[in-house]
Structures are given as structure tokens and as C-alpha cells.
């Protein structure tokens, strides 16, 4: 008993030290490496406009990925995000037909996102259903509604000032989308790492029962997370629709998997409880750089998906293999 000191220090390891040994640092090194390799393999890579174009590969997905990261850290998942984009985009297209202007379209996009998120949240938190099945269901349902509305048609004719969201530049090569991406990243960083709400998200993800027993309103927190994910899907829908200037029901098809991959690559545990926003930001850049770099080398998109898939499994498998090999 004499060897334990009466005084307990706050920390043994400084936050900086902890950060240096983290997943995010490793990932950042990977991103830098890819950047360097890319700049050597293609003469077109180190061009400001090309790099600016590159950011469009990930900005919309990353906006959703931040909200998805919180959701996955809290132990849930939303596979319906891409379908929410489709439905929100379809709703905006329909709103154009009845003559709504740009402000109205934005409200419609955000509103549909929120409603879809609320629907998912209701089914998961109020009815106690597993989110993976619920959102596989709503994934079909939301996109299905787009198909019912549009069939094999498309909505076009968006107002010209609507194009700013997906095609506008704020300053030189800095696009509006990129600025929006940066702001959203900052907001989610603060929510997750600097607020009581973020602390509750970690607590719930690590042990939902323990969190509930500690007086956290678990269902309420999860409901808000579904709302946020829906809202971000609405934001992404506005940007994407504006960028494409058209809506088909197949819009953003398969994005949910890329978004989940981005989140997991960013170091968020798919089992919940751990992960960070900086990790997701770096992962977004890594995926953007890989896609862009391979694109410059004329590698077809489907082959990139092999790289992404291998990356997804590899980043989780390699540390575990290393652990196994050591013991």
C-alpha cells in the first residue's frame, strides 16, 4: 500500500504525445506520400486548377462522412444517405417545376434531408430497430420514391444562380464547396471534440447501457445524430445537384459505401466508440488523391474501387496482423 501515491496526476501522457502516436498521424503520412508519388508520376498533378478539381472528388461525400462519423462512433450506421441525396435532389427538381427560386430550393433540399433523417431516427430510437436494417430499408424506400417520381426521366432547368453551390469559386481556385467542406469539418470537430454532446456520443458508442445508466439520454442523442446525417445529405444533395445541373434517380448511387469507407479509413471504429474528425478529413484527402492520381494515369474507375476496397480491409487488417505476428 505504501508504493501507491496518495496524489493521482491528471495525465501521464500529454495530449500532444498521444496525438503523435495516433492513426491520424499515420494516415497523414500516407496522404503526403501519395501526394509526392502523384506529383512525380503525372506532370498534370501539380497544377492549382487540377488540384482544385480534385477536391470535388470528396467534398460532398466528406460532408456526409462527418455526420456519419458521429453516428458510427455512437454505434449506429446510416446506409440511406445516398438515397436521401436522390430524394432531396428529386424534390428540388420538382420544386423547380413549380417555379421555386434558389432560396426555396435550398430549403427544400435541407428539409427533405431532415425529414428523412427524422424518419430513420424515429425507427431506430423510438421503435428500437437495428439501424443497419432500417437504413437498408429506407435506402430502397427513399431512392424508390425518386424512381416512382422520375422513372427514366431527369429534372433539369435549375436556376442559373443555383449553380453557384456546386460550380462557384469563392477566391481564385478555392471553390465554394471546398470552403463549405472546411467550415463543416470545423463545426463537426467542435461538436465531437469540444462539447458535452460529443462526450455523450463517445460514451454511448463505447457502452450504450453504461451511458444510459449514467443518466445520458441515449435515444435523444442518437435521434439528433440521424437528423444531422439527414441534414448533411441534404446539403450534399444541393451541392451535387447544382454541380450536375440535373437530377436522375440514380444520382449518387453507391455513395453510402464510399462514405462508410471514408469514415472507417479515417480511423473510426465500425464497432463504435472511437474516432476523430481530423482522421476523417485526412481520409477524405487520401481517397480524393488516390482517385485523382489514378485518373490522371488513365486507370478506370472500377479498378480504383479495388484499391479503395483493399485499403478498407488493409488498414484494419494490417495492424491486427502485426499484433498477431508480434505475439
Amino acid at each position: 500500500m505504501t508504493d501507491t501515491t496518495r496524489f493521482i496526476p491528471d495525465r501521464l501522457q500529454s495530449p500532444l504525445e498521444r496525438r503523435l502516436k495516433s492513426w491520424e498521424t499515420l494516415l497523414l503520412a500516407v496522404a503526403v506520400a501519395i501526394f509526392i508519388v502523384n506529383s512525380f508520376t503525372s506532370p498534370y498533378f501539380l497544377n492549382a486548377w487540377n488540384l482544385s478539381d480534385m477536391t470535388f472528388n470528396f467534398t460532398e461525400k466528406a460532408m456526409i462522412a462527418f455526420a456519419m462519423a458521429l453516428l458510427i462512433i455512437a454505434g449506429e450506421i446510416d446506409l440511406s444517405v445516398a438515397s436521401i441525396i436522390a430524394l432531396a435532389s428529386t424534390a428540388m427538381g420538382a420544386a423547380v417545376q413549380i417555379g421555386l427560386g434558389t432560396p426555396g430550393l435550398v430549403l427544400v433540399g435541407l428539409g427533405v434531408g431532415l425529414i428523412c433523417g427524422a424518419f430513420n431516427g424515429f425507427l431506430v430510437t423510438k421503435m428500437g430497430l437495428p439501424s443497419i436494417v432500417v437504413t437498408i430499408g429506407t435506402m430502397s424506400l427513399f431512392r424508390g420514391i425518386s424512381y416512382i417520381v422520375l422513372g427514366d426521366q431527369a429534372y433539369r432547368g435549375y436556376p442559373s444562380d443555383f449553380s453557384f453551390f456546386g460550380q462557384g469559386y469563392v477566391f481564385w481556385v478555392i471553390s465554394f464547396e471546398f470552403v463549405l467542406f472546411a467550415i463543416i469539418a470545423l463545426v463537426y470537430f467542435v461538436i465531437l471534440h469540444k462539447t458535452n454532446f460529443g462526450r455523450a456520443v463517445y460514451a454511448i458508442g463505447n457502452n450504450p447501457v453504461g451511458a444510459e445508466f449514467s443518466g445520458i439520454r441515449v435515444a435523444r442523442v442518437k435521434f439528433i445524430l440521424f437528423l444531422l446525417t439527414g441534414l448533411m445529405s441534404g446539403v450534399a444533395a444541393i451541392c451535387l445537384t447544382s454541380r450536375l445541373a440535373s437530377t436522375r434517380p440514380s444520382i449518387a448511387f453507391g455513395w453510402e459505401l464510399e462514405i462508410v469507407t471514408m469514415v472507417v479509413l479515417g480511423g473510426v471504429s465500425i464497432l463504435g466508440g472511437s474516432g476523430s474528425i481530423p482522421g476523417v478529413v485526412i481520409a477524405a484527402f487520401v481517397m480524393g488523391l488516390v482517385t485523382f492520381g489514378l485518373g490522371l494515369l488513365n486507370v478506370p474507375g472500377i479498378v480504383m474501387s479495388i484499391v479503395i476496397g483493399a485499403l478498407l480491409i488493409g488498414v484494419i487488417a494490417l495492424p491486427r496482423l502485426w499484433e498477431k505476428w508480434r505475439t
Binding site: I8, P9, R11, L12, T195, G215, R217, G273
Partner: protein, 510 residues
């Protein structure tokens, strides 16, 4: 001196035979903890050996080693004198070792018969499971343990006592030479316990070796032939049951005099703070009414599965009651969630610390401040300095031992984890604190600390409800005791009525 005579008597009884199963200087360590340190244990055919020890003494670890769940780090297991290894549970079963586990670990969605025979079902044509033979044999075995259950019933439709009997039937369905019974009577009524004793006698008659783990000294002296005592993962004594007294066993078990464990305190209680009236749940409890006063420690005693925890969790807002009222400080309280309960001043220290009490992957300070974040933050933004300050204040009051406040709770010992849970709740300034088995699975030093702290809280005017299955603890700490049986209040005892006999009598329903 005691040890010498014990060993002689063991030698005397073993001259004729070698043990069917033996542990030889077995050690088991986990990162940071030595669960077992060179312990030995011998089981003989037709004999019942009682394994005695406090919670955390290493009894469960021994069971897990004997059944192939854990691998020892040192020493060896011997069957009929020759060494053997149990890499998986299957291997232990094949070697004729079967166990009735403390927690009834079974399969809700499978039928009773499948629960009994999973992994060794009778085979028919093409090697397929012979369902009708399985049902028939399951019925026979269930009858033999006094369980009159249709083997086709799904397990989830059974009550807790019957589930326990199915677990016993499962252990007996394996044609075993060694039967381990880990607190087999914990959830059973007196009638069922008597039937189990008969069964133990029958198994003895069949020449099976039985390892009987129990807290209850009356049953140890009734059915055991020899004893082995563990303390803090080490062997402290063994011998024939006839050569030992209860007092000697207790002394070996705790390593000092028992009478000193409980703090003396002045028992004076204030005005009424909590009144529960007619609390009821469709399947777990019914008709619960009582009052609680400031400065009082109210004990809740009962068998495992008497509905005490279920009721407390309902009072804390985890499950909704179907009827009943709660009045706190004279005002009717509506509690729909733990957050509501905390807001009204009721906090709950659960029995299951790892799952319900703490968030083991988060550091100590975050666990402590979790329900109090509203006080340590500003406009919803975290203020780490204030969090550390609050955590420090309460963990120091509880004399927590840890490397730093940033250490994950999962790395702490059971006793220190419990201190974190209590610190977490005290930081919310509660009026009523419910402690569910507060000293289960923690070492003696922490146990005494928790007891002293409970007394201190009561002295400060907090109302304390303590759920406990340990009679000395209930009697040593409580001002009043409510005994529950099968989901209802069986008796409310105070003063001279609070004796071990009355508690057991009301709890078992004799």
C-alpha cells in the same frame, strides 16, 4: 498447525486411490493481475469437495480452467494421475468434466432439449440428430432434477429457476466423471434445493467426483466430504470437512476476524424522503411498497433472481413499471429514464460494473463527470480543467488508487472501479443512493472502504438502499431489511427480528 492436521487427513483418505482430476500448482495470470498462484486441488470419485473462498478468490478462474475456457500459464491439470490439456471447452467435455456455471449461460431461442444436448445430441440415421430420442432423454434428465418442463418449450419462455434447472440438466446430460457445481443453489427455492441435494447424493453413489462451490456454510457442511479454501488466488487450506469448524473456514477464507468488518455507526434516521407505493411489472415484480428515511440504510435481501435488481432498475427509470407511484420529499415523481431519476436525486450503483456501471474504455475523469457535465461545462462546451477538478475532488474522497485520472477505467481493479462509480454519483449531489451488491467481486480492503463510506453517507443524511446477497453485510450495515421472494416483498424486518435465520426463512419461503 491447522494445515498439518488437514494434510494428514487428506493423506489418510487417499491412500487407496488417486484423484480422478487434479490441479497441480496451477497459475493463471492476466495482464496486471495474478488470478491464481500455484494452486492445487484434488477431486476423488464418489466424493464432494467444497471449494470455499470470497468473491475474487479465484474460484471462477479454476472453473474456467477446468472447463477449457482459460489456459493456465503454469502448472498442470491431471486426469487419473496423468497430465492433460484442455485447449477448448470441447476437450474438457470429452475428458468427462462438466460444469454448471454460476450464470446460466444458455440459448434463449433454442428448445429446452437442445439446450440440454447442444454439442452432444443423440444421432440417428446419416449421422443426423435424432430429435425424438433427444426429447425423450431430455425429459428423463429434467425429471431427475425435479424440473417438470416440456423439453420442446423455447428456453426464453421459462422462468429463472427453471432456466437454472435446465443448466443443471445440461451438465448431467454429459456422461461425466467430474461434475463442477458453481453456486448451484443460488437461484433455487428450498424445495428445489432439497431435490438438488438428493441429486448430489445420487451422483456420489454413481462414483462421480463433485466440485461444489458455495457461499453457504450450512450446505457445505451438509453435503461436502472435504474442503479447499482459496484466498486472493492462493491455496490457504484443505482437508476433510469433519475436521474443521465453520469459524475456522471463515477465518481461512477472509484471513482475519469477521466481526471487525463493519463500521460502528450511530443509527439515527430522519424524516421520510422516499415512498414507493404499489410498484408492479408484468413479469418481474409485483406489489412493492415501502418508505425510506434520510440517514437510513435499508437493506434488500433475497435469493439471486428474487427481483431486487429488476425493481431497483425500474425505480431508476431503466424499465417502466406497469403500475405504482413514487414520492420523493413529499412530491410525486415521474421517472421515465435514468436521466429523470438523477434529476430527482436518485442514483443507482449497479451490480454489473463493467457493463452498466462504468464505460470501461473511457478514462476515469470522463466517467466521473459524465452525469455532471452540465456543471463542468459552459454553454455545452467542455471545460477540461473543471472536469479534472471535479473528478479529483470526489475520487480523492473515496481514496481511489490509480496511475492517473486519464487512465481507462477498464485498467482498474474491481474495488477501484466501484469507487469510480460511487464518485460519479456523489458528484451529482444525490438524495437517495441505491447500491446493488456494492462489494461483490472486490477485495477485502476496498470492501471495508465501501462499507465505511456507506456509513459516512448515511451519517451525512443521504438515504441509502443496499441490495445484497451476503447475510453478514445485510445485517452488519442495514437499519432495516426488506426480504424479497419471487418478485414480491416477503418480509420487512427491523431490530431484533434481523437475524440470519429470519432472512433465510423469508427468502426461501419456508
Amino acid at each position: 498447525m491447522l494445515m498439518e492436521t488437514d494434510q494428514k487427513s487428506v493423506l489418510a483418505s487417499t491412500e487407496s486411490e488417486i484423484p480422478v482430476l487434479a490441479l497441480n500448482a496451477v497459475t493463471k495470470t492476466f495482464p496486471g493481475v495474478t488470478a491464481l498462484s500455484e494452486v492445487s486441488l484434488e477431486l476423488f470419485p464418489g466424493k464432494v469437495t467444497a471449494l470455499v473462498g470470497e468473491n475474487g478468490a479465484g474460484k471462477s478462474t479454476v472453473v474456467k480452467i477446468l472447463t477449457g475456457i482459460y489456459q493456465p500459464n503454469g502448472g498442470q491439470i491431471e486426469i487419473d494421475g496423468s497430465p492433460i490439456r484442455f485447449p477448448t471447452a470441447q476437450d474438457a467435455g470429452d475428458a468427462g468434466v462438466t460444469a454448471i456455471h454460476q450464470e446460466t449461460v444458455l440459448f434463449d431461442e433454442l428448445s429446452v432439449a437442445e439446450n440440454v444436448f447442444l454439442g452432444h445430441a443423440p444421432r440417428g440415421r446419416f449421422g443426423l440428430i435424432d430429435t425424438s430420442a433427444m426429447m425423450e432423454r431430455a425429459r428423463e434428465i429434467l425429471e431427475s432434477v425435479g424440473a417438470h418442463i416440456d423439453p420442446r418449450t423455447k428456453l426464453k419462455d421459462l422462468g429463472i429457476a427453471n432456466k437454472h434447472l435446465v443448466a443443471i440438466a445440461r451438465a448431467l446430460s454429459i456422461d461425466a466423471r467430474v461434475v463442477i457445481m458453481d453456486e448451484p443453489t443460488a437461484a433455487l427455492s428450498q424445495k428445489e434445493i432439497e431435490e438438488l441435494y438428493d441429486l448430489v447424493e445420487e451422483l456420489k453413489g454413481q462414483g462421480k467426483a463433485i466440485l461444489f462451490i458455495s457461499h453457504k456454510f450450512d450446505e457445505i457442511f451438509r453435503i461436502a466430504d472435504s474442503y479447499t479454501v482459496f484466498r486472493d488466488g492462493a491455496l490457504v487450506g484443505s482437508g476433510a470437512i469433519a475436521d474443521v469448524t465453520e469459524a475456522e473456514l471463515v477465518k481461512m477464507m477472509v484471513g482475519r476476524d469477521v466481526s471487525q468488518i463493519f463500521p460502528d455507526r450511530e443509527r439515527k434516521t430522519g424524516d421520510e424522503i422516499l415512498a414507493v407505493d404499489g410498484y408492479e411489472h408484468p413479469t418481474e415484480f409485483a406489489d412493492i411498497s415501502f418508505v425510506l428515511r434520510r440517514g437510513e440504510i435499508l437493506g434488500f435481501y433475497g435469493l439471486v433472481g428474487a427481483g431486487r435488481s429488476e425493481f431497483m432498475q425500474s425505480l431508476f427509470g431503466i424499465t417502466r413499471p406497469s403500475a405504482g407511484d413514487v414520492t420523493i420529499d413529499g412530491e410525486r415523481a415521474i421517472i421515465r429514464s435514468p436521466a429523470d431519476a438523477v434529476g430527482k436525486g436518485i442514483v443507482y450503483v449497479p451490480e454489473d460494473r463493467g457493463r452498466q456501471g462504468t464505460i470501461t474504455a473511457l478514462p476515469i475523469f470522463q466517467n466521473v463527470t459524465l452525469p455532471s457535465l452540465g456543471r463542468t461545462s459552459k454553454n455545452g462546451f467542455l471545460k477540461l480543467a473543471e472536469e479534472f477538478q471535479l473528478a479529483r475532488e470526489y475520487t480523492e474522497r473515496l481514496d481511489l488508487r490509480a496511475a492517473s485520472l486519464d487512465t481507462d477505467v477498464g485498467n482498474l481493479s474491481g474495488g477501484n472501479q466501484q469507487k469510480v462509480v460511487i464518485a460519479k454519483w456523489l458528484a451529482t449531489h444525490p438524495k437517495i443512493i441505491i447500491l446493488d451488491e456494492p462489494t461483490k467481486g472486490i477485495d477485502i480492503g476496498s470492501k471495508a472502504a465501501v462499507h465505511e463510506f456507506m456509513a459516512e453517507l448515511a451519517a451525512q443524511g443521504l438515504a441509502v438502499i443496499m441490495v445484497s446477497s451476503e447475510i453478514p453485510e445485510v445485517l452488519g450495515m442495514s437499519d432495516r431489511v426488506i426480504v424479497m421472494r419471487e418478485g414480491r416483498i416477503a418480509a420487512e424486518l427491523s431490530g431484533d427480528d434481523m437475524t440470519p435465520e429470519t432472512l433465510v426463512r423469508h427468502a426461501a419461503g419456508i
